[in-house]
Symmetry: C2
Subunit: 344 residues, 2 copies
Amino acid sequence: MTDTPMGTPRWVLGVDSGGSGLRVALAPVPGARSTADDSRTDLAESRADTAVSRQPVRTGPDGIDAGHLMEQLVPMAKALLDEAGGGAVKAVAVGAAGMATLGDDLRARLPEALAEAFGVRRLALAADAVTAYAGALGQRPGAVVAAGTGMIALGTEGRTWHRADGWGHLLGDCGGGAWIGRAGLDAALRDHDGRRGGSAALRARAEAFFDGPVSELPAKLYPRTDRPAVLASFVPEVAGCAAEDPVAAGILQAAAVHIADTAAAVCPPETDCEVALTGGLFGIGDPLVVPLKEELAVQLPRARAVPAEGNPLEGAVVLATALALDALALPCDGRLLHVPDAKD
Amino acid sequence: MTDTPMGTPRWVLGVDSGGSGLRVALAPVPGARSTADDSRTDLAESRADTAVSRQPVRTGPDGIDAGHLMEQLVPMAKALLDEAGGGAVKAVAVGAAGMATLGDDLRARLPEALAEAFGVRRLALAADAVTAYAGALGQRPGAVVAAGTGMIALGTEGRTWHRADGWGHLLGDCGGGAWIGRAGLDAALRDHDGRRGGSAALRARAEAFFDGPVSELPAKLYPRTDRPAVLASFVPEVAGCAAEDPVAAGILQAAAVHIADTAAAVCPPETDCEVALTGGLFGIGDPLVVPLKEELAVQLPRARAVPAEGNPLEGAVVLATALALDALALPCDGRLLHVPDAKD
């Protein structure tokens, strides 16, 4: 890192690619004597500038399309750099949904493309669960539960990643947004049919929310391509009647048990281990978080539930900063977190 | 019915349209003194000739395409009639998956089209659940559970239809084939992750059945358009290890409870009411049927589980025969069972 003239501003880029688009953050590299943990503090002070594209990166036959990602990333990052007064990009971290299984094109083409565009040779390619982890806990050991429409948990003691669930709405994501929404609509239809387990309150909410009798739900749901998101859109309604409706409360209790199962499967064995909850699902608050903390206390008495320090984009900045400082401490396994041979 | 010369053979057509294609049966009208119940006996003696097309009838913007159905039905029915030596078709019953919600084109165009093709003016248009009912119980009151990839129950005391579930793999079909298969794969992935509720036996079967590690299941399942059928294809594996594996046995026990819930919601209140189980799912036999009969005894002590007498195609013949004999006794509600004004 002696090729940058003294006084030239030094930056890192964090990138978060997901179903809602591409987000980019430019953050200064902390002073040479900073540690990776200090960089966490810098982030908390929001020194990063960010840009957002609402166009999700395309997925083609080779997986996530590196060319389409670069087309969006380069102008966004150059604009951020210009606004910040210019300087050198020392490291980039790209977090992407589907990186482990759909990241071949990114792993093959991004190192050269980023070297050409920014002269940067330090690069980390991470699954979105890894950037969620780094955003929530930095580089400390622990476990992170990331829950939105889906649900995945990732834990590490520092040597390897332990992953649980994240298998999608038909094979898992147990306790996630699509799971809870589906259970709520199941209870609404049970009430319609006169089957056991029905909830008149959830039926009334479903009829108001989806604007029509529940018998029309199949015709509204199945033609959609974003079915998991449609199911998850019903979560606030389930949470909204949990205080009065025992069926809704039972659904959130069952979700809490599934989420705790998943956290327990990845949590390192150390006592006083941190477990962070991150992702939009926890925005519903107490109706889910209270039973979840109770269940974590039962299943993981050694663990301590903590708030997530930051989001996945901030996690990408944590990874890039750690790379820039030669201080990456999270496990690199080539799939969840891939760091091509560093050259600088 | 005096316009057919004495001695001319008189026939009915039963039609069953579903995801696997179109099936047509030609059966003789029983003698004038026969009752609808006698016609049941004729069917049991397999006097119907059948033809099968493997091409499912197309669904367009107006629902199930009446023109595409007629294109296939007319040559098949005329060939059956020719083989049988000719004669007059007195009534037709068409059962179709999705008839209630997707049957507008059929209700609008089939009466005239069938009158033109066969000179027949007696027509019944039925949901596949109704033909399943008529195949299983004839025109007697009771309840029928039809389970394959999906799951629906239909019951009647003779005046109205009571329907429960059949809402598809994301909203219901609780205890059906896709539900059981999905639960089995969930248990396989729980074992992979080290989550509670996992089954090593189901994981081993999933790896053998889907030819690879369970972590590859999402990439195999989600790109498919026939996801419910893929899930249901795993049912025999769940059944196959239920004797040794408590997780698999628990899945089938839970399915039995859901199926009994659904039957209980539609079963008429009469004592000694018949409940028939029909559809491919029950082909797995005791691992599901034994706990289901136990659960029915608990939830519906007044009911008597009976074998289905025939399949949905035979049910269509029951309906057509009843029409031909002016003896239709099942409820006509315009959606589940629609009989345009009879003219002869």
